[in-house]
Amino acid sequence: MNITNIKKQFPIFNNKVQNNDLVYLDSANSSQKPQVVVDRIYDFYTKEFSNVGRSVHYLAVAATNLYENTRVLVQKYINAKDPNEIVFTKGATEAINLVANTFGQKFLEEGDEILLTELEHHSNYVPWHYLRKSKGVKIKFAEFNSDGEVTLESIEKNITPKTKIIAITHLSNVTGAILPIKEITRLAHSKNIPVLVDGCQGAPHLKLDMQDVGCDFYAISCHKMYGPTGLGILYAKKKWLEVLPPYQGGGGMIREVKKEGITFGELPNKYEAGTMATAQVIAFGESIKFLNKIGIENIEKHENELTKYGEEILRKNNSVKLIGSPKNKGSVLSFTLDGVHAHDIATILDEDGVAIRAGHHCCQILHDKLGLSATARASLGVYNTKDDLDKLNESLNKCKKIFEG
């Protein structure tokens, strides 16, 4: 795997950012886009554009085929059984809202429990929160340990006869912990509890096999996977999509509409009301091809090496404190720097072209537990190199210098 060649495929790196070479360490927030994805959007709008699924003219049929091709590409990529188990949404957030809303409506009653973890991003907590008011359900949080991990035991401890669904992150966007989702699913299924996995951080970095994991729902954010914004994916087992009610009503998702009543369409249309993010879906097909070409195993290996290197140099830096040290860790390095607030770090690093994230990373529960209002986070993608991490470390030393005077 030749990183120089891979990096060349990302046009963002061709230009200087504020007179600096860009050191992009914010991929957990959103990844950069390869040229093929950008080109695909341009080509679709300039040469092939039409709405999908409705008209019978040439362009409409071609666009529909392109749109459905991506569904099959995604199905194969995550090893789902059926393309109809792939639902396009406006983001992973909407994917989780879809499940919380429809599952909640159909299956949850007062006193039922939803089990989350303390690592969850707000997008895998807030959608469930609404059910507290509307349904009177209780939300429990499986604790993370001192390494920033949520173990199978921590999940098991929190399961009660009232637990009706478990919703967990695949990979923490703060501590980097990779959760044992297969084991958690097995345990949950032995108690007839379905499992939703928030795969926002997992999908861009880890090999996905829905048949192996066995989870019921898996939410994906396409813009974190070298794809366009405004697009997410909900993988859901067919048995769920068949029994759950529709999420949003509108054109495209109906079978028959009469004044007296409405019948709904078949999968996957049932969950794709209105005109979808057509260009983004078609362009996301290129993201999947891009990932397939490099091979997710190679990406994982590359990012693992970089993460280890990053941990090593940051540990050597006495002023830096890494947040979490999970045994099974993704390419996320969250840290604090003695005497310098995360936002000041981010501003100072930015002057050197080093783009990181600072704040609570949409994980206030986690930060509250750690007693921190903000942390700094460097997160990696396929285009990163050891040089990038060296530059990060150099800039951190500059922060120290400025603040120590």
């Binding site: 607030h341 936002h343 000041d344 501003t347 704040g359 903000a374």
Partner: protein, 156 residues
């Protein structure tokens, strides 16, 4: 852009050793401020006497160097100021951060003005402006003794 404009000596000093950072025991007005984007928080306590003058001011909070320095410098300057002067100074500061090259108010002496102008570096960093202005908006809320939290989403 120049980091030295943003992180001037005086900012670093007030950021590291904020003045008036304590919970006041003897206050009659207060308000809380919050920046939901970054989690910065401030709680301003005022003792306003019968002549509408701030006889004591303190704050609690956590945040970046800019927000801590801003609250620290502000609380220093507001001691012994009358309500009408507080309003003038807050407006003047916010206008300076937004657009004015200098402070216009005649209330402050040259030294005090220089101190306050040290925060003008944030002008070049739009994402950091709210760090500098949160305490000032919260002070306005405290003067009104509002119970509602001042949220940076609500002001420009």
């Amino acid at each position: 852009m120049d980091l030295k404009d943003l992180y001037q000596e005086i900012i670093l000093d007030h950021g590291k050793n904020p003045r008036n950072l304590k919970k006041s025991d003897n206050f009659n007005k207060d308000a809380k401020g919050h920046n939901p984007l970054c989690g910065d928080k401030v709680h301003i306590y005022l003792k306003v006497d019968e002549n509408n003058k701030i006889s004591d001011i303190a704050f609690e909070g956590s945040g970046c160097a800019i927000s801590m320095a801003s609250a620290s410098i502000m609380t220093d300057l507001m001691k012994e100021k009358k309500e009408i002067e507080v309003k003038e100074l807050v407006d003047d500061f916010l206008e300076m951060i937004k657009q004015n090259p200098e402070l216009k108010s005649k209330i402050l002496g040259e030294n005090e003005k220089t101190k306050l102008m040290s925060l003008s570096g944030v002008k070049k960093y739009p994402m950091r402006v709210k760090c500098a202005t949160m305490a000032w908006h919260t002070l306005t809320a405290a003067m009104k003794n509002t119970n509602e939290e001042t949220n940076t989403d609500k002001f420009e």
